[in-house]
Amino acid sequence: MEKKEIVLELKHVRKDFGNGPVLKDISLQLHKGEVMVFIGPSGCGKSTLLRCINGLEGIQGGEILLNGKLISTENTKWSEVRQKIGMVFQSYDLFPHMTVMENILLGPVKVQGRNRKEAEQEAERLLERVGLSDKQRAFPAQLSGGQKQRAAIVRALIMKPQILLFDEVTAALDPEMVREVLDVMLELAKSGGTMMIVTHELSFAKAVADRIIFLDDGIIVESGTPEEFFTRQKTERAQRFLNTFIFREEKGGDEA
């Protein structure tokens, strides 16, 4: 990992919505092909961090660099940056008035000005890869939650982004659909995708991550390999956080 080039770098990023900082002093480096997983209690700033990275939120301090180029400026062309940093959200965010295929083609055709036929062929390949070949002409309302999220992943993928951001993409799904979406992400990770993932699925985090970042209260509390993080936490906060999960899992097991 060390020798690989840095794709994204955050230096002392601070985010404040106006009532106290939400992100306090975030510095990190994402390397090419690296899968970084963010975990941490609800409200600790995970979504905000991803949203700052692709410019949905502005930052009040620090710097964000993409391929060594500063992107956290007043006159950043976010439309260009966002083609390089794809994002998939928690909510089912397909455009409801378009078919799956139209959803996917909007970016490549209207933003990147690519040839429609060529984009359509690639969309077909990608849909097949996520198991949605038969849903090209379906409207979002006709899809299950898991299918929608897989389509949303394809919509981000077709832009050929350098980095993909995933913000709790399985949090709103029924349990039986979580797996199909996680499998797609796992496959992307294995095939060399550079990704930042926010998730509460700890076993998935363990399987997919090169590095786990534990956020709490707007700061990076721990950062390490999955083995380090899950077996020997350095901080009490991380231990406490993980313990709440163990308790939750035991409780869930009782009920089942």
């Binding site: 909510s91 008035h97 209207k110 933003v111 409207f139 006709q142 981000a156 832009m159």
Partner: protein, 225 residues
């Protein structure tokens, strides 16, 4: 006897006169509706801006126009303006003006409602694939607003067509006025003509409004997904 009354419709050029009157009604409504759609769209989008001053001003305008009976507005414009400022507007122009003022307010409220219905993450997912602001509106937001807007806008259109019957009161000779004239003209020969003539007017209003609701239903079917 009712069988006799129906005669009046086919006497002379009465039927043609009624249709001419209907055209006046439709013309006033059409112009007012089209203008209202345009102004209403801007008004509605303006109502979604952050600036509280703009919002409050528009809100007051909207409430004022809505609370005022349309007839009072018509009198205000037709009689009031000419007396106070010496502006002489014809009945038809006054009617178009009043119905546009009213229609724009109503339409603005519909547009505001429909645009508030599009969730925030639709803007964000559009932005996240690199669409710029204009493109997000063009491909994602406006089509969704439009789909939500069509049923209530068509409803407003038929309401406006029906309300144009008020312009009789400021001397515009439209379908209802023609009907009155025909009834008056045949008061002695066909005393029971009122039932038939007003019945015919009813049918004519139906003819004017029906295509609108057919069109709305058609669009809804096309956009069902």
């Amino acid at each position: 006897m009712p069988e006799l009354g129906i005669r009046v419709l086919f006497m002379g050029n009465n039927l043609q006169r009624l249709f001419t009157g209907l055209w006046v009604t439709v013309r006033i409504s059409l112009i007012a509706v089209l203008l209202s759609m345009v102004f209403g769209t801007f008004l509605g989008l303006a109502m979604t801006v952050r600036n509280p001053l703009v919002r409050v001003t528009l809100r007051i305008y909207l409430e004022f126009i809505r609370i005022m009976p349309q007839l009072v507005l018509l009198f205000l414009v037709y009689f009031g303006l000419s007396k106070a400022f010496g502006i002489n507007l014809s009945g038809e122009v006054s009617a178009v003006l009043v119905f546009t003022l009213w229609g724009s307010a109503e339409m603005g409220d519909l547009v505001r409602g429909a645009s508030n219905c599009v969730p925030k993450h639709q803007y964000e997912s559009g932005a996240a694939i690199g669409l710029n602001r204009g493109q997000v509106y063009r491909y994602i937001i406006l089509p969704q607003i439009l789909r939500r807007l069509v049923p209530p806008a068509m409803n407003l259109t038929t309401r406006m067509i029906k309300t144009t019957s008020l312009v009789v009161m400021i001397g515009v000779v439209e379908v209802l006025k023609v009907a009155q004239q025909i009834i008056e003209g045949n008061r002695y020969t066909v005393p029971d003509s009122a039932l038939w003539v007003y019945g015919a007017v009813l049918l004519l209003y139906f003819l004017a409004c029906w295509p609108v609701s057919l069109f709305a239903r058609h669009l809804e079917k096309v956009w069902k997904n």
